[in-house]
Symmetry: C2
Subunit: 82 residues, 2 copies
């Protein structure tokens, strides 16, 4: 089962990479008032059970994939999207 995890800097947290993207886009002539850059992690899990997959991925986020102090996490499970 494929799971996509979106890890973004929380609102209010400084995001220098996003600010660099925003400034560069502005310099290129695009009217962009804000840009934030995070990570997308695609995981291929052994389990076929949606509930189990979500539980596992939530634990992975807490242990490795994200820093809950400064990052928010969005979990998209393939079976739910279809």
């Amino acid at each position: 089962m494929r799971v996509t995890v979106l890890v973004r800097p929380k609102a209010g947290i400084l995001d220098p990479q996003g600010e660099a993207v925003r400034a560069s886009l502005e310099k290129l002539g695009y009217p962009v008032s804000g840009a934030r850059v995070g990570r997308v992690v695609d995981l291929e899990l052994a389990t076929g059970d949606v509930t189990e997959a979500r539980t596992q991925v939530e634990r992975m986020c807490a242990e490795l994939l994200a820093n809950p102090l400064i990052e928010s996490v969005e979990i998209e499970i393939e079976a739910e999207r279809e």
Copy 2:
């Protein structure tokens, strides 16, 4: 209008960060057969027109946000998701 751009390493392209994530998750005891890491870019655009937004963001991807040789891009426009 908010637009989310997902930039991922193309299939077949080496992804050391994803491989590190996969190995670390395995070491933590999670049965993950694959992991790929990319970027998520959230943009706040001035335009309210979906078609115009898509055209602009496609150009931004070509000019700055992604390397089309090694990365694939997925564009999600807020109005379309709701």
